[in-house]
């Protein structure tokens, strides 16, 4: 057993720390104050690209399986967790606004044909400017229950015609393309799901509405519609054969499983920011002698450490290609609640000053709530765990 972070990751963390203090945190506070996302033409994004960020992890040769294997050997899931935690520490909203293929990348990597990878990820290898990819599964009537999506895909000659509404897709209005999940037959449930890469400017893709959120205002969560939106058959991820081979749901399920520990690590990052801020405020106000204040801080740190270690274990299993469904859901179920608790305690320690609406402690309290919702709510995580641990049937009523 070893709980140390390797030197290479530590060096990257130091880079994030410097960028975080100088730019990420201030940008996040500004976006929160203005109540709108960092605009896509902000010089910060160009700077990130010039620093070598905003790129795909697709190397451009070999298949995804091989590159995933290589990444796993380098301990990438664990390193990725550390980086995600540190970015979220400075500002999780700004972190999500970073250019890059984003959540659209995993399905393209795992399902896409070599041609599709080249077409959609190629421009992210050496991006000439900030570019974004996006991912759209959630609909107004389908959140955690992804099998219930209603956006339809109908074959018409050499194209598919998409109709429906998508909600809360990060960076969708600024994206070069969006991986859109649709169904060819709602009665098939997940078996009817198909993933399409819908490119910017495709007729019928529109009505982009940047949602107003409680927190995490620095990135856009965007709803949009697809109205008789014709997408070339070549943009069906993996081609028809892929879906003939296996259920369409698999790709989405896999990407959820891979990202749960990362979302949990972000909750830890936000929680750490809240803890640091609470400690700073308590010290400034001379309240560290109060054991009630100290006890809250102590519990926050302890629970955050538990959450972090649970994240690390899930990632460690992933890096060793061992099943981590229970562990991934476990850390995702635990971390957001832990982080919310310390964020709330942080406001209490700040007292009425946290009620003004301009305190970092208060922003973190709002920001962190989303972490218990995205990538499967805490309740969904418990259902997943209960299926594994006590054989909870998929339809409890049918037991």
């Amino acid at each position: 057993m070893d709980f140390r972070i390797d030197a290479a990751t530590e060096q990257r963390l130091a880079g994030i720390r410097a960028l975080g203090r100088a730019e990420i945190r201030p940008l996040g506070l500004e976006a929160d104050r203005l109540g709108r996302p960092v605009p896509p033409d902000h010089p910060f994004f160009r700077k990130l690209v010039s620093l070598g960020l905003g790129r795909t992890r697709w190397s451009g040769d070999g298949d995804a399986r091989a590159s995933r294997g290589a990444a796993a050997r380098e301990g990438s899931a664990r390193a990725a967790l550390c980086l995600a935690e540190e970015l979220a520490y400075w500002d999780r909203g700004v972190a999500v606004s970073f250019p890059g293929p984003g959540l659209g990348e995993p399905p393209v990597l795992s399902m896409g044909t070599p041609e599709q990878k080249e077409r959609f990820l190629g421009p992210f290898r050496e991006p000439d400017r900030p570019r974004w990819g996006s991912f759209a599964m959630t609909e107004p009537g389908a959140g955690s229950d992804v099998a219930a999506i209603r956006t339809s895909a109908r074959r018409e000659g050499g194209a598919f015609v998409l109709d429906g509404e998508k909600s809360f897709a990060a960076n969708a209005s600024r994206a070069d393309w969006i991986v859109v999940w649709a169904t060819v037959d709602p009665s098939l449930g997940r078996g009817g799901h198909r993933a399409f890469v819908v490119e910017r400017g495709t007729p019928g893709l529109g009505d982009f509405k940047i949602e107003r959120k409680m927190g995490l205002k620095a990135y856009e969560s965007t709803s949009f519609t697809l109205r008789a939106c014709r997408v070339p058959a070549a943009n069906l991820l993996g081609g028809e054969e892929h879906y003939a081979r296996r259920a369409g749901f698999k790709g989405a399920l896999q990407s959820f499983n891979a990202t749960r520990p990362a979302i949990a690590a972000m909750a830890v990052g936000i929680g750490r920011a809240a803890l640091d801020e609470a400690l700073r405020v308590a010290r400034e106000d001379g309240r560290l002698g109060d054991s009630r204040v100290r006890d809250r801080l102590e519990r926050g740190r302890r629970r955050l450490r538990v959450a972090r270690l649970l994240c690390w274990r899930a990632a460690w299993l992933a890096d060793h290609q061992q099943p981590n469904m229970v562990e991934a859901s476990l850390c995702k179920a635990v971390a957001p609640a832990v982080a919310l608790e310390i964020a709330s305690a942080g406001m209490e320690i700040a007292g009425e000053a946290a009620g003004r609406g301009d305190a970092l402690a208060e922003k973190l309290f709002r920001d962190v709530k989303a972490m218990d919702i995205v990538e499967g709510t805490g309740q969904i995580q418990r259902i997943v765990m209960a299926r594994h641990l006590v054989g909870l049937p998929r339809d409890p009523g049918a037991a």
């Binding site: 140390r4 972070i5 963390l13 740190r301 538990v306 649970l310 765990m385 641990l389 006590v390 409890p396």
Partner: protein, 361 residues
């Protein structure tokens, strides 16, 4: 790089402990409780396997395997019978003040002769000055020690520690839990000290190791309760399905599982920190606190899942609930651990950096 795996040696050790606990302790738990001691055969096996000397230096005939090895074994034993786990370890957490404050001389003069004679050392953590020493003698009273024989009493305080062999007036108690280890109160007035050490830093290190020892026992105890409740809930049918498939219970069972997993990983991290020679005082205090808090969430709910059966002594869950509660009273208690961890945190400067090596979050 972050590695949550166990070495082959430690995996094997854990398997050995698990097998021993299953074969020698689990089904004998009520007998051991009634007899106020584990069976002689369990004691012999325990020593034969080499659990006694797990942490002792090789020079003292031990295996010198360190804190991680000890917590792995303790969890397995406590998952069968926490009282027996305490009773079987003749030095128990009393080892730590002897090592940290008394060093090799204390091992040689106090610990090894006691092991030779088949005696038992008992630790009392006294952070409130209940035991007073003067002119080589001690007086005080200790309301509860989980032991029926006290061949060597080691008292650990904030400033130092002392050891007493004679002049102890012991009275047998019923005990709230951990009865397999026995239960006594001890009074002494003018008892001669066989050793006394003053070294606050070493005393703090010893206290950290004591807390980790107890944390591991708590993790084992709550794991037993959580696992038992889960298995029971899959079998027991109510309203036409296993009670585990009612979501109110399914979620509770998942949360019990999560509590155990979280406490364990904190215990392991603190043990690794100890074994690396780093300052582990705060980590051990936190691990003890977490294990205490979570075990007091898990073990009462273990009883709850079994309903009326849980309250009856035909099932072990009521015993684990009492024992978790009792264990968390030892080692100076949870409030002192909270105080220590809180003071350490109050003294640190934000940002609390990411690296654990630097002693942060």
């Amino acid at each position: 790089m972050i590695d949550l795996g166990l070495s082959d040696e430690l995996s094997l050790l854990r398997e050995t402990a698990r097998g021993f606990a299953r074969d020698r302790l689990r089904d004998a738990d009520r007998a051991a409780e009634a007899a106020r001691a584990p069976a002689a055969a369990a004691r012999e096996d325990y020593a034969a396997i080499g659990f006694t000397g797990l942490e002792l230096p090789e020079g003292a005939g031990g295996a010198d395997l360190g804190a991680l090895a000890r917590v792995l074994v303790l969890e397995e034993l406590a998952a069968a019978d926490p009282g027996a786990a305490l009773a079987l370890d003749p030095l128990g957490p009393a080892l730590y003040p002897l090592v940290e404050l008394g060093g090799e001389a204390a091992l040689r003069e106090l610990a090894l002769p006691l092991l030779e004679a088949g005696g038992r050392a008992v630790l009392a953590v006294d952070l409130e000055g209940r035991v007073r020493t003067r002119g080589g003698r001690a007086e005080g009273s200790l309301p509860w020690l989980p032991a029926d024989r006290v061949d060597l009493l080691v008292v650990l305080g904030r400033e130092g520690a002392c050891a007493i062999r004679e002049g102890l007036e012991r009275e047998e108690l019923r005990g709230a839990g951990l009865r397999a280890a026995g239960a006594s109160s001890v009074c002494f007035s003018g008892a001669p000290l066989c050793a006394a050490w003053r070294d606050p830093a070493a005393a703090a290190r010893a206290l950290a190791r004591v807390r980790l020892y107890l944390a591991a026992l708590l993790v084992g105890t709550m794991r037993a309760s959580s696992d038992f409740a889960r298995d029971y809930a899959r079998q027991r049918v109510a309203f036409g399905r296993p009670i585990a498939h009612h979501q109110a219970l399914a979620f509770l069972l998942v949360d019990l599982f999560a509590a155990v997993e979280g406490a364990r990983v904190l215990v392991h991290e603190a043990a690794v920190r100890l074994d690396s020679g780093a300052d582990a005082r705060e980590a051990c205090a936190s691990a003890f606190l977490e294990a205490a808090e979570q075990s007091l969430f898990v073990t009462p709910n273990g009883v709850q899942v079994l309903g009326g059966h849980g309250f009856m002594q035909d099932y072990p869950v009521e015993k684990w609930m009492r024992e978790a509660r009792a264990l968390a009273l030892l080692g100076g208690g949870v409030d002192a651990a909270r105080e220590d961890a809180g003071r350490e945190l109050a003294g640190s400067e934000p940002p609390l950096a990411l690296t654990l090596a630097e002693g942060a979050v």
